[in-house]
Amino acid sequence: MSIDMSQFYQVFFEETSEHLANMENLLLNLDVDNPSLEDLNAIFRAAHSIKGGSGTFGFSDMTEVTHVLEGLLDRLRKEELALRPDMVDAFLAAGDVLRGQLEHHQGGPEVDSGDIREISARLTQLAHGDSAAAATAASAPAEPARVLNLVCLFPPDLAASEAEVDNLLAALAEIAAVDLRHRPDAANGLLEARLTTARSDTELRDALAFYVGPEEIALTPAVGGEPSAYGLFEEAAPAAQEEAYGLFSEDPAPAADAAAAYGFFDDAPAAPASEKHEEDAGFGLFEDAPGRPEALPNRDVAPGDSPAAIEGPGYGLFVDAPGGLGVFDNAPGAERLSRPAAAPVATTPASTGRRLSDHPSVEVAKTGRRDTDKTVVAAGADTSIRVSVEKVDQLINLVGELVITQAMLAETAGNLDPIQAEKLLAGIDLLARNTRDLQESVMSIRMLPMSMVFSRFPRVVRDLAGKLNKQVEMKTIGENTELDKGLIEKITDPLTHLVRNSLDHGIEIPEKRVAAGKNPKGTLTLKASHQGGAVVIEVMDDGGGLNRARILEKAKERGLPVSDSISDHEVWQLIFAPGFSTAEVVTDVSGRGVGMDVVKRNIEGLGGKVELESSPGFGTRTVIRLPLTLAILDGMSVGVGGETFIVPITTVVESLQPRLDDIRTLAGDSRMVHIRGEYLPFITLSEVFGLAGVEDITKGILVVVEGEEGKAALFVDELLGQHQVVIKSLEANYRKVPGMSGATIMGDGRVAMILDVAAVIRLGLANAKRRAAA
């Protein structure tokens, strides 16, 4: 039987990304000191579902990663291990790798296989290591650092100079954690070291190039990606493994024993040093085993090198273990390098030993448990169904139709004799209520909670704060506020930008905060709420606030028309100008000045508004106001020359009856209107749209609107009312019409155009210019 699995791929992709998002969310909210079992179970279930799904669809790479992940989670939820922050880090990193793999299966770029191995190793190490091993893991660098063996031969004269060698080592230490194995001296110009660094080979070579020729430098990864490395070990030191294994698993291996172990290894790989440098990665582990002790001070030798020796045999044992590839890749070795002290090392071998012997039983136990877990997952089956947005939109359209039909019926029924048609009228009333309820519930299908957007930010904040060396706590308020799906998708980018801005420019570094008498930990708050038919999203930080003086200075530098006396509100508006940035240093986070203008444009494109509030020393608050949905718009209907137009209410400032003496002409023909001290361009809509409208200014109405380019007064014949209108696309069957953002269907079934206020202002001004030119 062959079923085309590919038809289910999409479902798998969707489900998996949901599981991943869910997992990340749970992880970020996890209380490390006192994790709730329920959360751990939920995380485990998510990982398990991903594993199950990926296994079914044959995405074995994902299965492998989730398998390791699951292993650790399983121990956590059984309370065999205590949760630690580094585990959360590892889980998050694993989530990233999985997401990358998922994208790869959907046609994205391939995930670096090194990353996968690294995370598998980290997880396995966490799952199997006991407290001591774990403690060392905690100090392991979060950044995926590579461990490299550096070997280079110095010219004798250079090697003889103490000072020169010191300089060189200092230079090296700046870019990498150096674990010196052999210091070049007059007798032997060979430098051997193990480097732990995130830098590239080239950078390392550059650091040395000043002293030695490039051909003299040999850099090899200390832990092998190549399978050959395993093979090498299996052959090179099989006997050694047995011995070492026996030794360490039976004996808790105090430092003295470790030294003994070291001595043991001394003889094992008997290859001469010069040969080994060209050898494969894994060999580096034994690098200084033969014949080096005398060159190094004793304290360094014994504790420092024994785990490395252990590492080797570990490979041999784990080669066949599922998901255990490169288990020890950077585990003890890398940790040891980042930690000069030798204290925990004595216990490390012990744990390593245990790890080896425990391994099979742990595996078995896990398999046994997994079967029971399946039933748990099945029992908690989803109570939701997956429906394509298209179907929902179709439903919304149909309901929209129903609403219009109902309105028409109600209008017609209004003319009937209420006594004779009593039953009919009652029915129509009922219909009206049912229709309204139906419309509301159908619209709510498209509504998603803001937590969909907010949930991604803890991660962004965490990563970014780490990068910027800031301490930031993130709070979210009102994540259950619902917003149209279309808006949710479009609000994410502007919000991310604002959050990054707040972190980069708003919240100060801890020292500065302490100096200002604030909590060193900054707070970033995301808040969503409903306010009268609009959704208000706020991004608040308790940082330094906007610097009025600097903004003004920059504005003047850029030749913007400002004066020192303008209000704060107007000053803050300046940062929405394209290309405006007050950052002194352009970082990769922000500061290029591309941003706030885009944020503002995006949000206005959604029919929303952005406002800024800031007080120096207390922080900044950005307020975004959005309509509830993209599909419905609050509009004011105006009549012009017998046609109805909808002006989006968000753009309307006020409407008033003009007085003749408020109208001034400029250069003969362009008209301005004087309203409350402001001179606004006077745009006659009937003229813009080529309609025959009211000519007499005193008979019409002025609607003052505010568009991207400022305010203008639109002259219309009459105000008809205020409605919620369903936005319909003109482009679907026609094309874009200048000055219109769409169309809608009114209660009487007729089509009305929705004005694109900014475009109308532009058209009106262009008309005026043309007239002036004529």
Binding site: N397, L398, G400, E401, I404, E643, T644, V688, F689, G690, L691, K728, S729, L730, E731, A732, N733, Y734, R735, K736, V737, P738, G739, M740, A743, I745, G749, R750, V751, A752, M753
Partner: protein
């Protein structure tokens, strides 16, 4: 399915014929979605005169073109006999205003003659040919070509 020759023209098929002024036109019936009476349209600002505007067709905004204006067939009248043919072209829905719908005819390729060049308003590009049915001459229009052409300005010019 119709037997379609290399030019994409059905060699034989059913056509809806309609009148514009004194002339009779035919279009592929498979492009016709429905026929309805003329109702008030909402004008679109600054659009050519032959684009009457848009109507609400069960929730869909549909542009309406008056072919009589497009083809310069005198001053059109709008009364209870004026007919709108709703077309389904590609994924788009649009309507054309005509004086009346007359018939559905079968036309074989032998009854279809190439249209002579006479530099009329209606470019021969948009003509399938001239059909003869019972002594009547029917101008066969490639309605898809016509409606999506640039001069109709019904679709975004990106198609060009």
């Amino acid at each position: 399915m119709d037997i379609v020759d290399s030019s994409g023209v059905p060699a034989s098929g059913e056509y809806l014929t309609f009148t514009l002024g004194q002339e009779e036109y035919g279009i592929d019936i498979l492009k016709v979605q429905e026929i309805r009476g003329y109702e008030a349209v909402t004008r679109i600002a600054n659009s050519p005169a032959f684009i009457k505007g848009v109507i609400n067709l069960r929730g869909v905004i549909v542009p309406i073109v008056d072919l009589r204006l497009k083809f310069n067939l005198g001053e059109p009248s709008y009364d209870q006999f004026t007919v709108v043919i709703i077309l389904n072209i590609g994924k788009r829905v649009m309507g054309i205003v005509v004086d009346g719908v007359s018939d559905v005819i079968q036309l074989n390729s032998e009854n279809l003659h190439p249209a002579p060049e006479f530099g009329s308003i209606l470019d021969t590009r948009y003509l399938l040919g001239l059909g003869t049915v019972e002594e009547r001459m029917i101008i066969m229009v490639d309605i898809e070509q016509l409606m999506t052409s640039q001069e109709m300005a019904l679709v975004e010019t990106a198609a060009a």
